[in-house]
Amino acid sequence: MSSTANPVVPTSEAAVDQRILIERAQGGDHDAFATLAGESIARLDAAARLILRDSELARDAVQEALVRCWRDLPTLRDVERFDGWLHRLLVNACLDLIRRRRRRAVEVELTSILSPAASDFSGGVVERDLLDRALRALEPDWRALVVLHYYLGMPLPEVAASLGIPLGTAKSRLHRAIGLLRATVERGAAVDVVSVPEGRFA
């Protein structure tokens, strides 16, 4: 099991460097933006795959978010909010893709869920499979909520603003989502092999 519990917290030195890069990119410096994009693209890609459960869609979403970021960067007044703004662009791109998805061939993947003797999250493939399955059971906007808060480390008020929902609703949904994830993972111990339809989004 990886121990990268907080993958996105920058150091203060890195923050200064990032500020300089953002200001240069705001002035039209392609190289500065390429550096910024290079620093963030891996975590954006992972976050998009967590939300969308589809690597091709994730690629589209990340590209869309970064192109919008470049295009609109001169209008960003507070460079300290760059990360939150970029994450908001990403989640909007993900949810837009989900809403606009049409007549895409349905890919059905049979996911074999092993039956562990006990539901213990201390490590291993079984836990990943169980969590993967539990995430699939969430609707995309709920997955976005979980990913923004627990993977990208965004504060809940910022998550609520990004998703356009009241803070109370975000808290409630996160509470329920975590409960469902936990219950699904724990229940996974007793579940046989199941088929999980891919590519069907609401």
């Binding site: 693209i41 192109v67 809403r99 895409r104 109370g168 509470h175 989502a177």
Partner: protein, 438 residues
């Protein structure tokens, strides 16, 4: 057994472990794409990209024109007085609950207060002000009253925000609370056709068919008599999140629900007649936009709805009000469609129509009888928005909820041109219906 706290604590690492963040192979393609993309100028549209305080702070200092200010204040007072008189004098006759009506004022929320805006003059008039955090004003079908929600301190046990529902006469008198107990996580308020009762749907724990957290919820549908405050729970149904009263008399209503974890659409008479199935419950529960926000046509003979199936979501479909004749509405090739809003005169349907899955969104307008051409109307938005027709069908009022504008747009459905209203608001606009002239 894993404790909740431990699971939450482990979740960041579990998620990071699920997809190890390596450098994607499309980074170079992206850099090339960005080199071909121009940047948006920072200062060309200050009213759109800058907050008001920043724009105003950049205004060069000048001598204060007290005389002009005095004249403007006098004009504003006269306008406000005329507005109040107009409101009071125009409700002698009342419009029917469905069909075309005259255009009244636009109720809107701004900074916790409720206002009425005049779309013609651009003037605004405070309706409910004070320390309460008020939002979501909705005009009654007869145009005489406004219902709205007021935030209540604290939250429900599960953390959701709480509201009280209030009603006020459109002249500002008769403010009264109509909810006995705070409402948790309420959906948008709607009025019954009698303009006396409010339809309120609250989310409660569901009973079956959980396919995702939101689908585990049921909707408790209450009708609240605004005169007596009496509340009647009509039904509690898995997945219920809206009801639509059927024109022309409102004696029947339509809703969607989950049956054994699958979405279907149903109708029921308020006289106790049995439930009719309009669309069999066979759409998988995870397709949460299917049948979402279905709308009756102005005459109540047809139903417009979003349709998703195993191939994806969503397209705009239409069926007869008895559930027969379901088909895709004006299929024009690959597109993402949804959120149909029929015009009150029955002639038109406005809906999101995005050919080829474009990255921006806009409203298109089609004839309700599915003849003629589609008209792209109004601004394109990076996100989405809420829109409704003017009561006389002459305009569409669109408020972006993507943060791209604090002002609503008024769209001409005949040529697609648009302008903004004269005031900022926080969204949740409605349009007062008044009796047609003559």
């Amino acid at each position: 057994m894993t404790t909740p706290r431990r699971f939450e604590g482990d979740l960041p690492a579990l998620l990071a472990d699920l997809y190890l963040a390596g450098m994607p192979d499309y980074r170079d393609d992206l850099v090339q794409r960005i080199e071909r993309t121009p940047q948006r100028p920072a200062w060309t549209l200050p009213e759109r990209w800058l907050p008001v305080e920043l724009v105003t702070s950049r205004t060069p200092a000048a001598r204060v024109p007290w005389r002009q200010i005095g004249v403007l204040a006098l004009i504003a007072l006269l306008l406000a007085a005329a507005l109040a008189a107009y409101i009071g004098s125009h409700q002698a006759r009342l419009p029917a609950p469905f069909g075309p009506a005259g255009n009244g004022f636009i109720p809107f929320a701004k900074s916790g207060d409720i206002y009425l805006g005049d779309p013609v003059s651009g003037g605004t008039h405070p309706l409910v002000t004070g320390p309460g955090d008020d939002k979501s004003p909705v005009s009654s079908p007869d145009g005489t009253r406004i219902a709205f929600n007021r935030s209540v301190p604290g939250t429900a046990a599960d953390g959701t925000a709480l509201f009280d529902t209030y009603v006020v006469n459109v002249d500002g008198s008769g403010l009264s609370r109509v909810s006995f107990t705070p409402i948790a996580d309420s959906s948008r308020l709607s009025w019954a056709p009698d303009s006396r009762r409010l339809a309120i749907i609250q989310k409660v724990a569901g009973t079956s068919g959980c396919q995702g957290p939101s689908n585990c919820l049921a909707g408790k549908f209450d009708l609240v008599d605004t005169a007596s405050g009496a509340s009647q729970t009509v039904a509690t149904v898995d997945g219920l999140d809206f009801v639509q009263f059927r024109p022309p008399d409102g004696r029947e209503l339509m809703y969607r629900a989950l049956v054994d974890g699958k979405w279907g659409m149903f109708a029921v008479g308020l006289d106790g007649s049995p439930v009719r199935t309009l669309a069999q419950p066979n759409v998988p529960g995870e397709m949460g936009l299917s049948f979402h926000a279905a709308m009756y046509s102005a005459d109540g003979q047809r139903i417009f709805y979003e349709h998703g199936d195993a191939g994806g979501c969503c397209q705009l479909w239409v069926m007869n009000a008895d559930g027969t004749g379901a088909h895709e509405f004006m299929p024009l090739g690959p597109a993402w469609d949804g959120n149909a809003v029929p015009s009150p005169d029955g002639q038109w349907v406005a809906y999101w129509h995005n050919p080829n899955d474009g990255p921006i969104h806009g409203i298109s307008i089609a004839r309700a009888d599915e003849t003629g051409r589609l008209l792209a109307a109004g601004p394109v938005l990076p996100g989405f928005g809420h829109y409704l027709w003017a009561p006389d069908s002459s305009k569409i009022l669109l408020f972006p909820n993507d943060g791209s504008s604090g002002r609503a747009f008024l769209i001409d459905p005949h040529d697609g041109s648009f302008k903004t209203v004269a005031w900022d608001s926080d969204g949740d606009l409605d349009w007062q219906r008044i009796a047609l002239p003559g």
